[in-house]
């Protein structure tokens, strides 16, 4: 088997935008370009991080991979097979191999379900296990995998009898029970306590290593991404603007947007109270229905030149080993040094 588990080739997802009366009458169509030409390869056994501001298309990318929706354009390859369009039967198999977890311990879990019901339900849906006893045995194994031990103590518990961290373990056990190869973990803007999050990530990493899983980890938080992932892609308005090994991407960031994100992060160290944070970026993120011409980042970029403001988006090109950037001026900016800091 190839070491690439997933490949996205120029994948797009455009949603029709609501039109005002003038646009309706003139027949003008508008699109929300949620994902607008994403190409990437995820390697078997790695944790791949997808990071970016709210609305940049992370969840939509995750949903396309999960095949919860069809792309408007482009190709999705899974284990060498083109899965862009699948018939119903093949889709059922696919959905066993590729699972999604929402990283939110407070997300709704049926209050009348005990842990054992939460875990055996997907088995029933997919017709796995010959008997109830067999399914319950699988449920107990899944609890062990996420360290809710001894499983007998947890099988009978309802969601409200679990802490946030334990609830997330249960949600993870539910995805693991189908023995997927690939997991998309989507973390919302986080109200989760840091300790609970650290606990969840620690458990997820252990499970990933012991079962040889591959993760797509979606987050807003660069600090956590550095700790948790092998490689990171930074997304801006539906496109990847920079991608590389986690340490390289953070220590040697090249794209002005990545640099801005990095400088905005708070660090738990002393000596910063009396200075203000310098974040080298202007304005606010435009709507995905109105993507700027040229480099889509140019209206917010402190380095934009006339050639950035027209024509096609800069191509995502490999500039160092495994380090990709979509910025025509990255080299000049690098030569300017770290004056932006």
């Amino acid at each position: 088997m190839s070491d690439v588990i997933f490949e996205l080739k120029n994948v797009k997802k455009w949603f029709p935008a609501r039109r005002n009366l003038g646009q309706l009458l003139s027949g003008e169509r508008k699109w929300i370009k949620a994902v607008d030409g994403v190409s990437l390869k995820i390697k078997r056994g790695e944790i791949f991080g997808l990071i970016g501001e709210s609305g940049c298309g992370k969840t939509t990318t995750g949903k396309l991979i999960m095949k919860l929706m069809e792309p408007s354009d482009g190709q999705i390859i899974f284990n060498g097979e083109d899965v862009t369009h699948l018939d119903k039967e093949r889709l059922g198999q696919y959905k066993r191999n590729v699972q999604m977890i929402f990283q939110d311990p407070y997300a709704s879990m049926n209050p009348r379900f005990r842990a054992v019901d939460v875990l055996t339900e997907p088995l029933e849906i997919h017709g796995i296990g010959k008997s109830k006893a067999e399914r319950e045995e699988l449920a107990a194994k899944a609890l062990e995998a996420v360290k809710l031990t001894p499983p007998e103590d947890f099988l009978g518990r309802y969601a409200h009898m679990l802490s946030g961290g334990q609830r997330q373990r249960l949600a993870t056990a539910r995805t693991l029970i189908l023995s997927p190869d690939f997991i998309v973990a989507d973390e919302p803007v986080s109200m989760i306590d840091l300790s609970t999050r650290a606990e969840i990530l620690h458990m997820m990493k252990e499970v990933q290593q012991s079962m040889g899983l591959t993760y797509l980890y979606i987050t807003h938080d660069l600090s956590t991404a550095r700790y948790f992932t092998d490689r990171i892609a930074v997304m801006y308005l539906g496109k990847i603007v920079e991608m590389g090994y986690a340490d390289d991407l953070i220590d040697k960031a090249k794209h002005p947007y990545t640099k801005a994100l990095i400088s905005a992060v708070c660090e738990p160290v002393s000596g910063k109270v009396n200075q203000s944070k310098e974040v080298p970026i202007k304005g606010e993120i435009p709507s995905a229905a109105n993507i700027p011409e040229g480099c889509r980042f140019h209206p917010r970029c402190l380095y934009a030149k006339p050639e950035c403001m027209q024509g096609e988006d800069p191509e995502l090109q490999e500039v160092e080993n495994g380090h990709y950037v979509a910025c025509i001026r990255y080299k000049e900016i690098e030569e300017m040094g770290t004056s932006w800091r």
Partner: protein, 324 residues
């Protein structure tokens, strides 16, 4: 140093059908003029309960059951509703509520919401009120034209600026900001942090900055108060908590070790096993003892008092006192 707030032995309980939830349980602290006090702790430790209690405005079935809140020499717990509204709330102390930016009335323009809030707190003629609103909208870095817009036409950062402006209207000395950056993107978070620092300088304000994130607190708070299960675990200066020596209370150090750092590669993030106790039945002794990695016998039965162990550094932990 002049104190803008002095809290002594404050207790706030929620009287539920299952019994009292001891959300804030006998805590004492103060705030100096012009400083930002950070209040941190895990979800449910009592941060919001403390904030609303400081306005003497506990959310039912919550009640302040004991203690004193002293502002300008007056214990505001002894004032009636009328006096509080006239002389204290928004005049001396105001609050940016957790999630307020998402509860602006959708059908009102920003100007209309602001007018209503302002005139609820103080009688002003229309013209005066409008001018004041303009002044504060500009002060938080927005231009006048946002006034004619509706909440859904504003970004999260702009809405957060509006609710901050609304807390400043009546020129209070102390502003409580409850998780003002949590739901925002990192770039916008940094902008709001900068705004609060700028306001503090310009208006010589004091702030209480509430969050569950120790990293954010490091960048905004002059002193940090760490809460655990309705109690204060530790209070220290920014240097004492984030400097070389590090915090003293085992809860604070473990929380800090669970906080990821961008510019430092860590192999393993620490976490604190278990979860905070149920405040209907808090454990005896130190409330952290069930999760504490360095627990001693004494911790299980005797509650550690909050003691000043070095100048300005207060800790409630049996491990941290000398000669014990």
């Amino acid at each position: 140093m002049e104190r803008v707030l002095d809290v002594r032995n404050l207790k706030v309980y929620y009287f539920t059908s299952k019994g009292p939830v001891r959300a804030v349980d006998d805590i004492s602290f103060y705030i100096n003029k012009g400083e930002t006090l950070g209040v941190v702790g895990e979800s449910g430790c009592g941060k919001t309960t403390l904030g609303t209690a400081l306005l003497n405005m506990p959310t039912p079935p919550g009640k302040v059951v004991g203690g004193e809140i002293i502002i300008d020499g007056t214990n505001i717990l002894e004032l009636n509703e009328n006096q509080l509204r006239k002389n204290v709330r928004w005049e001396k102390i105001s609050m940016v509520f957790q999630g307020a930016m998402n509860s602006l009335t959708p059908a009102y323009t920003i100007e209309k919401q602001m007018l209503e809030t302002l005139r609820y707190h103080r009688e002003l003629d229309e013209q005066e009120a409008r001018e004041r609103i303009k002044k504060y909208v500009n002060l938080v870095g927005l231009s006048d034209d946002v006034l004619k817009r509706y909440p859904h036409e504003l970004s999260g950062g702009m809405k957060q600026r509006i609710v901050i402006a609304m807390a400043l209207f009546l020129e209070p000395e102390l502003v409580i900001c409850d998780e003002p950056t949590t739901a925002l993107d990192v770039v916008v978070q940094a902008q709001i942090i900068n705004l609060l620092k700028e306001l503090k300088q310009k208006l010589n304000l004091s702030f209480i900055f509430v969050t569950h994130d120790l990293a954010t607190e490091a960048e905004v708070a002059d002193r940090i108060m760490v809460m655990y299960a309705g109690k204060i675990a530790e209070i220290g200066t920014n240097d004492q908590i984030y400097g070389e020596q590090g915090p003293m209370h085992p809860y604070t150090s473990n929380l800090l070790a669970a906080t990821p750092r961008l510019h430092k590669k860590v192999e393993k993030l620490n976490f604190i096993p278990g979860s905070p106790p149920d405040l209907l039945n808090p454990p005896a002794g130190c409330r952290f003892h069930l999760r504490c990695p360095v627990v001693m016998e004494k911790c299980r039965t005797e509650e550690p008092p909050l003691k000043e162990v070095e100048k300005d550094h207060y800790v409630a932990c049996w491990r941290c006192y000398e000669n014990e």
